[in-house]
């Protein structure tokens, strides 16, 4: 892992990124979640699904902006990927750097701990016991990560395992590598 990674992503954030008020972003996302909760009449499974799907569509576009702005190459290992997602990806888009931790011994699964989560700032879940058990408020992130990583040939499974909004101690995303995808071949070759 390149040691300059933190310095360079700080620089990208400072100098190469157009920024908006985080509150505007938070309340725009909040309005989307609230609308879904209303539409699906508190069926939180469906809300989670829609958020993930929306995230996937965002992720496959977001990754191109990421590659263009940062000039990041393909990662050599899933360990590198974890560092880049946290220190470059989250940094240049949300200006936070989640902690990478809880690696499994096979090196295929890790957690991102979000000490700060701009999506959920000042948010309270609906006053409904089921919401606290079923809604993953920031679930758009699981889709974004899946979509973005798939575009660089990494098929991953991403899930929230805890969220401070639900009263948990911390907000934790779990990423599991399913497989490295192979480049597609032109027709007629193999």
């Amino acid at each position: 892992m390149n040691k300059g990674i933190k310095a360079s992503s700080d620089d990208i954030w400072k100098n190469r990124v157009d920024k908006v008020n985080a509150e505007l972003f938070t309340l725009t996302y909040g309005s989307v979640v609230a609308q879904l909760v209303r539409d699906f009449k508190n069926d939180y499974q469906k809300v989670n699904q829609q958020l993930e799907k929306m995230g996937y569509n965002i992720g496959i576009r977001l990754v191109e902006d990421f590659l263009a702005k940062t000039g990041t190459g393909r990662c050599q290992s899933f360990k590198d990927t974890a560092e880049v997602v946290s220190k470059v990806g989250f940094k240049v888009f949300l200006n936070v750097t989640p902690q990478v931790t809880n690696w499994t011994s096979d090196g295929k699964t890790f957690s991102l701990i979000l000490d700060e989560n701009p999506l959920a700032e000042f948010v309270e879940l609906p006053d409904d016991e089921r919401a606290k058990k079923e809604l993953w408020y920031s679930n758009v992130l699981t889709g974004v990560l899946k979509g973005a990583l798939e575009m660089v040939q990494l098929e991953v499974d991403v899930n929230f395992v805890s969220d401070v909004l639900r009263g948990d101690d911390r907000t934790e995303l779990r990423l599991q590598l399913i497989r490295f995808l192979k480049d597609e071949m032109p027709a007629g070759e193999d």
Partner: protein, 202 residues
């Protein structure tokens, strides 16, 4: 150096807004389906990827301009507007707006403060008949900045229109936060120029 207001990359907000219309169509479609499928058959799990992944086919849906979709987008905008108003006034308690709550002054607040926060620029024109009707005009609506259909300009305009309901809702929300009820008709006058015709009950 610490930043005064927390910020995020503008691309995050742009991409989120871009996806709001496809989401509204998808939601409407799914709700219609589950309604039609009745209770005995379980609603199939939607897969994360489907025919519209990475594609824009969904914008060709006949639901694009449906009342359901329009209503969802306008409603999202409305709740953004209500809260954005609080944020702006809380952030700047010296704001001129608080000294004079006349309707015209509230409209100026929308044209100046709200629009700058949302789009980094002010509204270009404000007209009124002084009897409660206002027309707000933005000569180059920022949300449309990168919208360009592979088909033609007419198609671009057709598919842009639903996005305008978000902003329309925001204006209605801000007005409501000052206790003003309104009826707003947004229009793409000459792409990317847009106008909002606002009728108030004052």
């Amino acid at each position: 150096m610490t930043e005064i207001t927390p910020q995020v990359n503008a691309t995050c907000l742009d991409l989120l807004i871009n996806e709001m219309v496809p989401l509204a169509i998808r939601t409407t479609r799914e709700l219609k389906q589950s309604y039609e499928q009745a209770i005995e058959s379980l609603v199939p799990q939607i897969s994360i990827k489907d025919e519209d992944t990475g594609d824009v086919e969904i914008l060709n849906s006949e639901l694009l301009h449906s009342e359901d979709v329009t209503h969802k987008l306008e409603n999202c905008g409305y709740s953004i507007g209500i809260r954005l108003s609080e944020v702006l006034i809380y952030k700047d308690s010296q704001n001129e707006i608080l000294k004079n709550l006349e309707l015209l002054n509230i409209m100026k607040f929308i044209c100046r403060d709200v629009w700058r926060e949302l789009y980094g620029k002010q509204m270009d024109n404000l007209r009124t008949n002084h009897r409660g009707t206002f027309v707000l005009i933005d000569n180059a609506f920022k949300t449309f900045q990168r919208f360009d259909s592979p088909v033609d300009l007419q198609d671009t305009i057709y598919k842009c229109k639903p996005y305008l309901w978000i902003s329309s809702g925001i204006i209605r929300g801000v007005l409501k936060s000052f206790g003003v009820d309104s009826l707003i008709t947004p229009e793409i006058t000459k792409f990317p120029m847009v106008s909002f015709n606002i009728q108030t009950n004052v």
